[in-house]
Symmetry: C2
Subunit: 468 residues, 2 copies
């Protein structure tokens, strides 16, 4: 728990803050932190300004009258050596170097400069986050780097070597109701690295699920150790990028990490018990599943929804994703026929209700009693609707809460899928249902295939641990 | 060319049209056709109404005073036998049975009813489209089943056993600038089937690229023949669904097709020279590529754009998709440094411009002279931008035409990728750029991986034919 203090600074100095409209550090931190709930003091540092965003500015961190625990820095790389020395003099605890232009450039002198900063920091008792990164998002202490991240706390701890991945995952998962304990975008990992952060997340009581985007490591054996320990205690979901030759060149050029052979990584991650995912979409799907999807007894799914081609597709996708679709028993089909006309529908699983005008309650209740079934996926593909006016969309708009409450009344775990990305017509429907699911704390996925893969891996995870 | 007349009826009767607000056939056909440019007579048929949508209605097709070439039918299955007999008496040429509730239900009596209709039609010189399908979209003669399909003609002929897939593909491809010659959603294939339609498309001079969604066939050897002939003459892109056990059950229940073993289909399609794609996304990507992407000399791509993590991801995705990213030569990197600051950027391919404020023209021109390079993918991932206000979006909004004109001035083939689906923040950007690319006749893709896969298969296609 040694790193815990970096998430709870008593005050923050923002170095490079300025009145220029192009000052990213001002927009991202200085102007955002007070509204995000950060309660400590915030000090703009700029030798050429007396005031920035209504706050008194200081020429140097050393001139700040009170304590400065945390420094966010976005001045050019050339000026950071002096800054670090000033920070040591001031007794700063953590420096977040948003600044880039260090080892990731592949230039020898830039790598050397980065090493010098680390050496100044180590001698002066300072920890460095970065350089070349977004830093810390910790809703519990009101720290963020994107104003639109959720202010509520959650149970997911996420570390990301890439700043953009950290934003993608937080935004994408947040849109589906997931909340975070602490997120660290750690860039070049010059000082605080993935090993120390994973070790922190493993011991952090607020963090119940650990997610990580990693491009490389400097200590494979130690990473294996900490991952093994973490994965034994909490689900650990990992994206490892930079495996191909070009990707590897990219990571060196991105965060200066040594990406290494992908087969080596694959083996390493497999040994640890971590869940390796392909990309951020799959990571978000798993975070949603761990958060909202009740553990099913098995892999037998019924797909219920609208659209014939979509239903055929759905059955293929479930099986490819690792779930199975048992055929509906004859008695059940007979019962469903009481509620659904046989024309324009499919009743054998997948179940295509044929038209949006039916009341789904009796259908779902009949299915809920099917003993050879473990879960439901309810799906709608608004882009297949032939009507310009968007009847599906209007229906979802009007009945969203009603539908979600029916689902929540079922015994079996249920997730919602809205498949809509190719044309604009379906996006509004997707957004309405995604928001509704987030509010109702239900699992939402943007395709049957993604739902099937995530749920299947979730079942795998628990099966390996002997649950269910 | 025997089937050509089904796309050019002199008049259309819409059976089941009514003043009810729930009458789909009225909304989809009767009210749409005149606005879509259909020039022939349109007759509503309804024994209980004198007028529908301002048109004089007739109780029976036999009562229509003029000729009736084409009948669109959406009355219950039980009434279709009589309708077919009336159509024979009237001398109708084609009946499109939108109506479902036939062989696809798996009910024996429903299958028998379908067979009876076919037998009445064959004896009476009528061709049947369907049942259980959307019918014909032919912009050249002003026929459609979705009011929002493009009215302009194009070069893609598409046949789809699934109505919803036909809508997905047309909408998705149209949003990216692709236009169609003729589209047929043919459902249960009771009479006109995939074999006859493929044979038609093969000989149709308006059709230069053939696309097909197939769930099954009744005559594998004949299908192989016609596909082989078609693929020798035009690119043929095929989705085959229903391969898994559940999917196969789904197709029987969807269109009554016998899906068969997927390995058999895989072999069959491979022998013919058709391009098999996984799903509609990949089909749309290939249609876009064949339409807009100039054939590159090889597979060497430079990825240029914004975002570090996105660039690392991009390089992995290109290689996984079958393209290669050569490292930028030292002289070129040196030249790029004249335009792009080394901090916050990546210059070795992938090339991350670091910030949206640069002028890209000199960078792209320098890259255009790189002799060991075959093409560009330009990418932006708006959801990674840390600013709430959406600077990327605003930039794309303001500069779209300028950017696309720069791309069009390059020697090497260039495509645009906007990756944005996980949160709502990027969708507007995606839509702006997608529309711009459609207008400028440029290839657009929603992810680097999808771009790489499509371009790679396109290069494969031409390589097999000995082009380039």
């Amino acid at each position: 728990m040694t790193l815990d203090y970096i998430f709870h600074p008593r005050s923050i100095a923002v170095v490079g803050a300025s009145t220029s409209r192009w000052s990213a550090v001002t927009h991202l931190f200085l102007n955002t932190l007070p509204h995000f709930g950060y309660k400590g003091e915030i000090y703009p540092i700029n030798p050429r300004m007396d005031e920035v965003s209504g706050l008194k500015a200081f020429p140097n961190v050393r001139d700040v009258p009170g304590v400065v625990d945390h420094v966010i820095c976005m001045i050019p790389a050339e000026a950071t050596r002096q800054l670090l020395e000033d920070c040591v003099a001031k007794g700063v605890k953590t420096v977040h170097l948003y600044t880039s232009g260090f080892a990731e450039t592949g230039e020898v002198d830039r790598g050397r400069l980065q090493d010098e900063l680390v050496s100044i920091a180590r001698n002066g008792g300072i920890r460095i986050i970065g350089p070349n990164c977004m830093g810390i998002y910790c809703p519990g202490s009101g720290i963020t780097y994107c104003a639109d991240f959720p202010q509520e706390r959650g149970n997911v701890g996420f570390i990301s070597q890439s700043g953009s991945y950290s934003i993608l995952v937080v935004r994408g998962a947040a849109a589906r109701g997931v909340r975070f304990s602490k997120v660290v975008s750690y860039g070049n990992a010059s000082d605080i690295d993935e090993i120390e952060l994973l070790d922190y997340m493993l011991h952090d009581p607020e963090t119940e699920v650990i997610a990580a985007y990693i491009e490389g490591t400097k200590d494979g054996p130690r990473l294996r150790e900490v991952l093994t320990e973490a994965a034994a205690k909490k689900p650990v979901i990992i994206i490892k990028k930079g495996g191909t030759a070009a990707g590897s060149r990219g990571t060196i050029s991105h965060t200066g990490a040594l990406a290494g052979d992908d087969a080596v990584w694959e083996a390493l991650l497999k040994q640890t018990g971590a869940i390796r995912v392909e990309d951020f979409e799959e990571m978000i799907d798993l975070l949603v599943t761990f958060r909202f999807f009740q553990l099913p007894h098995g892999r037998r799914v019924a797909v219920v929804g609208l659209g014939g081609g979509a239903s055929v597709r759905a059955s293929d996708e479930c099986e490819l994703g690792g779930l199975s679709l048992p055929p509906a028993p004859e008695e059940l089909v007979a019962e469903l026929k009481r509620f659904i006309p046989v024309a324009g529908s499919m009743l054998r699983n997948p179940i295509d209700m044929g038209t949006y005008r039916h009341d789904w309650t009796p259908v779902l209740q009949a299915l809920d009693g099917w003993t050879e079934l473990d879960m439901f996926l309810w799906q709608i593909a608004p882009e297949i609707e032939p009507f310009e006016e968007g009847i599906y969309r209007q229906f979802i708009k009007d009945k969203r809460s009603l539908i979600l409450e029916i689902f929540q009344g079922l015994q079996k775990p249920t997730a919602v899928v809205v498949h809509a990305v190719e044309a604009s017509i379906g996006l509004e429907t997707l957004d309405i249902m995604r928001t509704g699911c987030a509010e109702h704390e239900m699992a939402f996925y943007p395709s049957i295939y993604r739902a099937a893969c995530a749920i299947s891996r979730y079942v795998d995870y628990h099966a390996r641990r002997g649950h269910q």
